[in-house]
Assembly symmetry: C2
Homo-oligomer: 407 residues x 2
Amino acid sequence: MKPIGPLPPPFDAQVGVLTIAGQPYAHWLTKAGDTPAFVYDVDAVTARISRFRAAMPAGMGLHYAIKANPFPPLLAAMAPLVDGLDVASGGELATALPLGRPISFAGPGKRDDELAAAIRAGVTINLESEGEATRALAIGDRLGVRPRLAVRVNPDLELRGSGMKMGGRASPFGVDAERAPALVRLVIDGGADWRGLHIFAGSQSLDTAALIETQAATVALAARLADAAGAVPPLVNLGGGFGIPYFAGDRPVDVEAIGAALGEALTARADLLADSRFALELGRWLVGEAGVYLTRVVDRKDSRGETFVVVDGGLHHQLAASGNFGTVVRRNYPVAVAGQMGEAANDLVSVVGCLCTPLDRLADHGLLPRAEVGDVIAVFVAGAYGLTASPSAFLGHPVPAEILARR
Amino acid sequence: MKPIGPLPPPFDAQVGVLTIAGQPYAHWLTKAGDTPAFVYDVDAVTARISRFRAAMPAGMGLHYAIKANPFPPLLAAMAPLVDGLDVASGGELATALPLGRPISFAGPGKRDDELAAAIRAGVTINLESEGEATRALAIGDRLGVRPRLAVRVNPDLELRGSGMKMGGRASPFGVDAERAPALVRLVIDGGADWRGLHIFAGSQSLDTAALIETQAATVALAARLADAAGAVPPLVNLGGGFGIPYFAGDRPVDVEAIGAALGEALTARADLLADSRFALELGRWLVGEAGVYLTRVVDRKDSRGETFVVVDGGLHHQLAASGNFGTVVRRNYPVAVAGQMGEAANDLVSVVGCLCTPLDRLADHGLLPRAEVGDVIAVFVAGAYGLTASPSAFLGHPVPAEILARR
């Protein structure tokens, strides 16, 4: 037996039929037309944003990294509630522009046409290298538009407990901290509109103490870099890194403690940064737990002592849940039988997807209430890095519906 | 330094500019319009099919598992040259039907609408369970069409050296061998047109001796099952499992030795199978080495002693090359600088994709000729499980062109 991951609230307290945004799951499946489907509870996202606002020091900006979930109706609902949208490609830029919010554009491989589109639109480009800075300045000259450029920094510190390390080591993201002041000067002396610093030390950390320590160190680093560059950053993007629980034993981060500590760090910041604004950039933490993936049992079969519950979805929609995206040891995501929430889990099964590959396993040797053909399995924490981070064309299945749920 | 995987022939012998199907790579990029792009050499695929025909005993059927690469022009070119197409979803069925070839449909989670479409079209369904058999028979009754049904067997043997084990253990694929005779009887007594057995022990094996041994054991198993069922299988699909080299140290399978041994195994087969036809079902081995993924260098940067070559493609098109699809230890695929084939490789770099995630790495600490911004990097063995097995919507980049190359 391998433990099933912890269901996020409010689902962990539900008994009987799974409800999402106050309606039974069948209501959303009727809207979707069929399984498999993703349902995103926009009220849960709004509540997350409110919690962030309440926890963080006054004036702290909140950016949404749309790569976590770019579903257009969700994005439209979130855009007015956040202070900026971070995009990672020309395609995401085109999606975000009509929303009329401030946009920043990060990513290590921006092409000239992407830089040109961003500069034309007045978007802030988070520069990943000296070479990219030179290209952006030249494109600005050619277009006759003063580019808005921030400098992304590969910090000389690492976010402990981070699922994805992005600082403290060699990195394709940003320039090493010791080179950042010179790049700031290159931007300013090149005539661009310097927008500040972007310092991202890691992501998906559940270690509250490490997040607090990293944020304080990032504020201090920003001050040192500003001092060395002889220029005050208008904005310091402190990155994000707030993780969410996926696996047995995971505990959520204490956002209120982080906010309080960040308030202290900002109060104590160097005078040089007195007029700088600060922002955090979050993706997964805002939307991950708001999403549920619903997939129907097509078959139930035994083989050599193991019971397989075969569903009509799979890794083509939920690659990360199958353990094939950035994980070394496969562990079970939170899953449940949607009609039997909170009921006794004493049926030892593996939930496998419909793809003709042994990789397609959504739960491995987990205990669930007994699911029969026609029942619906819910995979939780499906709101971030779900459909768009999965090989949806694999084996030619239809694209699943995505539904925005609200009360 | 980590070794780069072995370039497949004919690319391993090229010097100077990479040529595909007799034309320099730039020719194909002009057709594609832009990088990144996939180029598939259809002549290389045809040569593979010819090699298979020459190596195998007379009458051995060849099925193509289209999930390996369902690019429609490639499929259209291959369809007349093989004896059958294997599909794994209703979507693949719809793609294959217009080609007018015999079709079989395997996959553990077939929905009722998929079974109905297959039965209506006269396609052979490889049954994965007793439950699926019962559903197929009922759907046939409802439609007034006699379904064509084969029985997929989870063999009591395992393909050694197999990258993906599919036999010898608990499996969602097929029914355990000891239950297969009863399922054959259920199909026959239910009035269906029984088409035979499908026995798949594993895939991506580079162990020639293991493949030979497994095929002989599979023929013997088919005889035992036929005897127990009291029925002669019209067709025995022996599966596939021929691997191709991806990583340093990998050696290709000896298809001629496999063909000779299979000829002996068939000559020695039980009398009961005298009138049975046999087929192998291959995907990766037919198309994998025929594909090249071309992506352009957008940036070149240093960080803490490591050099990053940043390209405009990445794991959204080549998930397996990034080490995030079914691999435990990340190793380097074969990659090269397309303008400097066979030249001295003394630049130690990591080739990273354009996605804003540390997972997006196409080569890790590999030695290549020096690549500058604007140069093109070729990733080889990109013809199977490439674009459709990757999260192409991730981060909103355009879908890359796919080009069919021929002389």
